[in-house]
Symmetry: C2
Subunit: 464 residues, 2 copies
């Protein structure tokens, strides 16, 4: 579709700035108009491949002057349509800003450009004894992970991006460049803009640099899988583990259907039973001690077939299988899309939430479902495999998903543990926070982006 005149004007100006690094090629636009979710593609009018903060700032100035939407883009691996260009405009692709700028090994921190991916950073850190802990399934960019407040399997021990971003450099809607914090471990100075931008989904500014915390690679890492007769027992074991304050580095739940999908996709041969993948970090003695404590809890609920990974390679294979769980789910029903729910509830309500959700899904649909979850955090993904062209199936998912979110909110949980709001969950935000809280969020949005050009149509529900 031809862009409206003010967008055309912006594109002309930006061509002067970027030359070949501005693209209006249809397939490039298409690639930037969707992520890994089920949301429908809407391409932007142009894609700018930025190489510097100054360029991002100049692009923002042009767009702000002409009131043209800006959509920041990392790797396109989001889960709620954050990059879908619902109002068209200019996509800023930050993937070529992928330099690691400064490693402070003695302070356990590292400053990177927004386009650096998590695997790239960990590869870079390989011989330092440090690692970056946040590990969503995809090899996402660290800027995108900050923008969506991403987490993953290590969160139960090391936290989400909320706990692992020390400071940000952000280009504001009008092109101004701000730094949100220094490198001290704590500060009581200004307002906490770092946390305001973490999870803001590109609606308040463009994250261009991230200073992340690193963690020392533990002396000892022990990982195992353990299966249970039924999912209730597996979840009960998780609840007791967390409530006993056993120091888990990872504790991931996968139901039988998900295990079958994993075996098929990742060529593994795990028993097709509700399974926990677990990991312990520490000194040799302390990791061993925690593993023993976990074993006792697991025994209480009939956990069986404890299979310890013997070496780094086996362990990597297990976690790679876990990280590919969403892709494995998608492969079960060819042509179908996987729609993954993402609620997170207080640990004490986890078993009840999972039980009620499984029953509800069984009672209200015939869809294939599976479950995988960062259960140590109270976060799980209940996945539906859906024919997107079948309105009845979509309606069923919508119904069950809506009821699941209502259930999670009644339990004082959240509609999204880690995927974010994007275009998929705006309608639940008022239920979660209340209209006055959303108004406060809107006031902040208007204050920092008065013309409403930053990733419009995302995150906050429209106030009409």
């Amino acid at each position: 579709m031809a862009p409206p005149p003010h967008v055309t004007q912006a594109i002309e100006k930006l061509k002067g700035l970027l030359g070949e690094r501005l693209s209006t090629n249809a397939s490039v636009l298409d690639l930037h108009g969707h992520d890994e979710s089920w949301h429908t593609t809407v391409p932007p009018h142009a894609v700018c491949f930025a190489h510097s903060i100054e360029e991002v700032s100049a692009i923002a100035s042009v767009c702000n002057d002409l009131q043209v939407p800006i959509i920041p883009f990392g790797t396109g691996t989001g889960m709620e349509g954050h990059v879908v260009a619902v109002q068209g405009g200019i996509c800023i692709d930050l993937s070529q800003m992928n330099q690691i700028l400064e490693l402070n090994q003695d302070d356990f921190d590292c400053r990177v450009q927004a386009g650096v991916t998590k695997n790239q950073l960990n590869e870079y850190l390989r011989n330092t004894g440090l690692f970056f802990s946040v590990d969503p399934g995809a090899d996402a960019s660290i800027g995108g992970m900050a923008a969506t407040r991403a987490s993953g399997t290590n969160t139960v021990r090391y936290g989400t991006m909320r706990e692992n971003v020390l400071s940000l450099k952000v280009v504001m809607a009008d092109g101004r460049i701000i730094k949100t914090a220094g490198r001290a471990r704590k500060s009581a100075a200004g307002y906490d803009l770092t946390h305001l931008f973490v999870g803001s989904e590109g609606t308040l500014g463009i994250i261009v640099e991230v200073t992340v915390r690193l963690h020392p690679i533990p002396e000892s890492i022990a990982a195992a899988s353990v299966y249970f007769d039924d999912i209730e027992s597996a979840v009960a074991a998780v609840q007791l583990t967390m409530q006993s304050n056993i120091q888990m580095a990872r504790i991931e739940l996968l139901d039988s259907a998900q295990m079958a999908a994993i075996n098929n996709y990742s060529k593994t041969d795990y028993p097709v039973k509700p399974t926990l993948f677990v990991e312990f970090h520490g000194t040799k003695a302390s990791a061993q001690e925690q593993a023993t404590l976990f074993g006792e809890v697991s025994d209480e609920y009939g956990g069986g077939g404890f299979a310890w990974t013997a070496n780094t390679e086996e362990r990597s294979r297990m976690w790679a299988a876990r990280h590919d769980a969403a892709y494995a789910a998608g492969a079960v029903r060819p042509g179908a899309r996987a729609i993954a729910t993402d609620v997170c509830v207080p640990i004490s309500r986890l078993a009840e939430c999972i039980r009620a959700t499984r029953e509800d899904a069984k009672n209200r649909s015939n869809l294939t479902t599976m479950l995988a979850g960062h259960v140590g955090d109270g976060n799980f993904h209940f996945v539906f495999l859906v024919d997107r062209n079948n309105p009845e199936e979509l309606a069923q998912v919508k119904d069950i998903y809506g009821r699941l979110i209502k259930r999670a909110l009644e339990m004082e949980g959240t509609c999204t543990g880690e995927h974010g709001i994007g275009i998929g969950k705006q309608q639940y935000l008022i239920d979660e926070f209340g209209v006055d809280t959303i108004d406060a969020m809107r006031a902040i949005k208007s204050a920092l982006d008065p013309k409403g050009i930053m990733n419009p149509g995302k995150k906050l529900p429209s106030d009409s």
Copy 2:
């Protein structure tokens, strides 16, 4: 001083609402016009003792309508003049809102009214196996601690209020009541208002309820003091301890002068040498293991006289002495005020920062100084004992303190690790963040408090 007409009008309206719980008694006003810092008292025009969120909301509405300043007040134990009524107005004393509302033992969280103090909460938790970790020197209110992003000796392991507030209920300037989050351990839903209000110093709204994280009391707690020949060795031991990833629960530095002051004030008989107070939490085996590792590091720097506390009582005495260090310092020079600096720097720069600061103070003044610090965080308090009526002494402190902050900022640290900005440090904020970042903070302030009634004259530098 008689209040201006619009304030008188507000007071009349509020009397109708609160009756005897609104006071204009001079000594009550005076008590509410200062904290524990050296800043000069400025009393508010009236003090309201609120009993409910609805009352706080009603007070805010009245003040907002008439454009009267509001100053939230907890225990008055702040360190940067946060409650000093620089523009007069209405102080809302929240100390009578001191109910513990909901304990979720299985989720390690607890919801309290803002006036509950840290000791009150820990007393309440005594038989639950859980504790609230954040421990500033004073028995501060949890609302006030959230507002100032407080921390303390446990921060190196358990974090500051930033890490320990799960959710807030806040009365906005116009009286609206918002809730910032649910109780899930993580969420990628709305903007992170929780963290925006933590550390906002009463300038964005009135914190009326706080849901805090609790931590399980470890199976084993081992504490010790160890002294060094010189402060350089003590600091070097701290740096190596942190960089070796030894799991300290507490690691506090006190210089010789501070140890002498403590012995005198707390009737202890520690060697008058640079000393570390340390503590280890864990299972019996893991606490022992960490203590051994620390012992090895300490040995390397000539740490001597390792004195383990034999029981809970001895341990409590040691930490009580530590918590009273500021009062102990103040008692050294009768009639003098203690002015405590509060910078925080990356761990790798700590030794250099402390060394340069001690030298600078020696070269540029004859003042009595001492040092106490949460050194595991890179945070330390360099304390001057000053005759407030002596302009020369005040000028010396101002000079040395300004140079210390400049030094800390050059090291990518912060001008305040835990005391906040209040009225004492606004002039350093632009140096720390840059003018564009401060402008973004101002935009947020204006958006949430358009009439500028929330604790005016605090936190952000005026933009004139």
